[in-house]
């Protein structure tokens, strides 16, 4: 299988593991420290260089259960954090759609979650972190210490050095269940109206849209932390794994299976429903199926995620139409609005607007051509493509949609690089 979640790349890279904070990094001028490699494209790949695997750097350092301040090593995963803190009445202030990402990866990609409209991205809650640089050695970065390096490293795609530990402020919860409401919608305009309405009342909003259907039907989910029940361990029943053999053959994903899945999914969410759900089920529906990326077969898949500003939000209607016309889209796509709270990150993808994310099975040039067309539509509308998901955007797109790139470049550690960086900077 490939070296990142999309299984698109087989890189020629050597790997070294670090498990202790005082372990010296290899002397090499093409390093990249990575966590669980849940990024889809090539931000966690270092073709021709050395990958420093920090998943063994996964020890807790300190937890202040009074104030909800957690310090741990950068290879600690979100699941590890939740298992520790949820029974004590705390929760991650921001979480992406999988609990398998490491804290280092969450910082380096300035990840966002279903509550972006209410609280901003992950970087807003990072109090400080340790950064190991090839020349300067270990330094602590925060809002008051090495501020510029702090801002460059959040969303900095691992290029500023190795994040060794992270200190995070958590969010207080009194119940570990989620109070969820699902509302079926018929088109994009209805989605926008539902978003605007729900953002005032619900911390978590997200929607799934059927990208194979031209009408734009979907299901809107809005949720708050539950007001009943206990503080149970967030981990539900044991996860199942997709066998490796599936990943080596033909994809299980085809037009028929997709249409059936999307049809039945939407049908099962007709009308409006109120229900209570576990943290695992609400935030991480796919984590119960380990290695789900294998269903796309040995050629892997692309994920496209863009954000476009509210003023040009209608461009996503055209994007969705193009995707359904091309019949290349996959399972339900995620559609959500982002708010105007920004993190300190120089290169954050998050910005006010509407974001769309979906998978495309890799069908070679046909797929990359479509991705390129979608990229152009998003960028012309003043939007951006998410590096953590991307495998194809041009250097031009990157520079245009991340205006602080040249400022960021000053903070890159000269011994660090990645396949993503080589790609967008060589253009």
């Amino acid at each position: 299988m490939g070296d990142s979640w999309g299984n698109l790349h087989r890189a020629n890279q050597s790997r070294t593991d670090i498990c202790w904070r005082d372990t010296a990094l290899p002397a090499n001028d093409k390093l990249l420290t990575v966590g669980n490699r849940r990024s889809y494209g090539d931000v966690c790949i270092n073709d021709g260089g050395v990958i420093v695997n920090a998943t063994g750097l996964n020890k807790f350092i300190q937890f202040d259960a009074q104030n909800g301040i957690l310090r741990c090593e950068s290879g600690v995963t979100l699941w590890q954090v939740l298992k520790l803190v949820v029974p004590m009445g705390w929760f991650l202030p921001v979480t992406p759609g999988t609990g398998f990402v490491t804290l280092g990866g969450a910082v380096a990609n300035d990840v966002h979650g279903k509550n972006h409209h209410a609280v901003g991205s992950f970087g807003c809650f990072v109090r400080s972190f340790g950064l190991r640089r090839s020349v300067e050695g270990d330094m602590t970065c925060s809002q008051v210490e090495n501020q510029q390096m702090f801002a460059a490293t959040i969303g900095g795609l691992g290029l500023t050095g190795t994040i060794t530990w992270v200190e995070l402020s958590l969010k207080k919860i009194s119940h570990s269940s989620m109070a969820v409401e699902s509302i079926a919608y018929e088109n994009y305009a209805e989605f926008l109206a539902l978003s605007e309405d729900s953002e005032k009342s619900h911390e978590y909003c997200v929607s799934w849209i059927d990208c194979l259907n031209t009408s734009g039907r979907g299901v809107f989910f809005r949720a708050t932390h539950g007001q009943q029940g206990s503080l149970d361990d967030p981990v539900g029943t044991g996860a199942r794994s997709v066998p490796a053999i599936v990943g080596t053959g033909f994809p299980l994903v085809n037009q028929l299976s997709l249409r059936l899945f999307n049809y039945f999914y939407i049908r099962s969410h007709e009308g409006t429903r109120d229900y209570s759900e576990t943290i695992a089920k609400f935030f991480y529906p796919l984590d119960s199926l380990l290695n789900w990326n294998r269903i796309y077969g040995r050629k892997g898949f692309y994920q496209f995620q863009c954000v476009v500003p509210f003023d040009n939000a209608d461009v996503l209607k055209k994007v969705l139409k193009k995707i359904s016309n091309e019949k290349q889209g996959s399972f339900l796509s995620v559609l959500k609005t982002m708010g105007d709270i920004t993190s300190p990150a120089m290169l954050s993808f998050c910005r006010p607007g509407v974001t769309l994310a979906l998978d495309f099975p890799n069908r070679g040039a046909r797929t990359t051509k479509l991705l390129s067309a979608l990229e152009t539509m998003a960028v012309e509308a003043g939007g951006a493509i998410y590096p953590a998901k991307d495998a194809t955007m041009t250097g031009e797109t990157f520079e245009k949609s991340f205006p602080r790139v040249s400022e960021f470049t000053d903070y890159i550690d000269p011994s660090y690089t990645s396949s993503f960086w080589q790609r967008v900077k060589s253009a």
Binding site: W20, D22, K59, F60, I61, Q62, L84
Partner: protein, 245 residues
């Protein structure tokens, strides 16, 4: 709440076992050679558990210090309910023939020092009239193989010793568990390419926990190694000596 003692606490399997059981312990004592690593592990265990955590720096390879170490630990903890011996080094087999001194150092570390510690711990547990002594051996101890016989013979010595100790201690209500992991993905094996037979340290830790609870005698982990080794042990020597195993 039990009092747990882990010798070689910074090893990969010990770490996974601690993650699994730390929250059920009343006191945890961690012993290892590397002070900095031990400090890092101490703060981790103290964060995930309410147990009192003690750390002791000790080079377990030197048997001379064992008496004092174990007597001190027994005194401090009051009682040792469970002791896990989890340290070891994978020697470079090709270096062993060129450098017998290196080879014997490795043998002492993986073999003699473990036997010495087990003796001291058994003495304490016999006095207590209870306790579990869990020692990590290896499937490599089942038969000397070309690629790995120095490590294998040290583990083999430990396992023969434990078989006798188990029977001796059975009269004193002391449980002796021999743990025989196969290939485990830990820092000790980080340089080896992993295949289908490899298990995670978490899986091995869960098996160890279950074997301690159920008072098993010999644990192959994962389970299928019992049968792989059965096959390997049954190959006649005149064929075996030609196999590049």
């Amino acid at each position: 709440m039990k009092n747990l003692l882990v010798l070689g606490a910074t090893s990969g399997i010990a770490r996974a076992y601690l993650d699994l059981v730390a929250s059920d312990c009343g006191s945890i004592t961690l012993v290892a050679r590397d002070a900095e690593k031990l400090k890092q592990l101490e703060s981790h265990v103290a964060t995930i558990s309410d147990a009192t955590v003690h750390v002791v720096f000790s080079d377990l390879a030197s048997v001379n210090g064992h008496r004092e170490l174990i007597e001190n630990l027994a005194g401090k903890a009051g009682k040792i309910d469970c002791a896990l011996i989890a340290y070891g080094v994978l020697p470079d087999q090709s270096q062993c023939l060129d450098d017998p001194d290196y080879a014997m150092n490795q043998f002492n570390l993986n073999g003699s020092s473990t036997i010495s510690l087990s003796l001291h711990l058994a003495k304490v547990m016999k006095r207590q009239g209870s306790g579990t002594l869990a020692v990590i051996g290896s499937v490599a101890g089942d038969r000397g193989r070309r690629s790995n016989y120095l490590y294998g013979s040290a583990k083999s010595a430990v396992e023969s010793f434990l078989a006798g100790l188990r029977s001796d201690m059975a009269q004193h209500n002391v449980h002796v568990l021999t743990i025989k992991p196969g290939f485990v993905d830990t820092p000790m094996t980080s340089d080896i390419k992993k295949g289908a037979l490899w298990a995670s340290a978490d899986k091995v830790a869960r098996d160890i926990d279950l074997a301690i609870t159920k008072k098993k005698n010999i644990l192959y982990t994962p389970w299928f190694w019992r049968y792989i080794m059965l096959v390997i042990k049954s190959i006649p020597e005149f064929i075996f000596k030609k196999l590049p195993l």
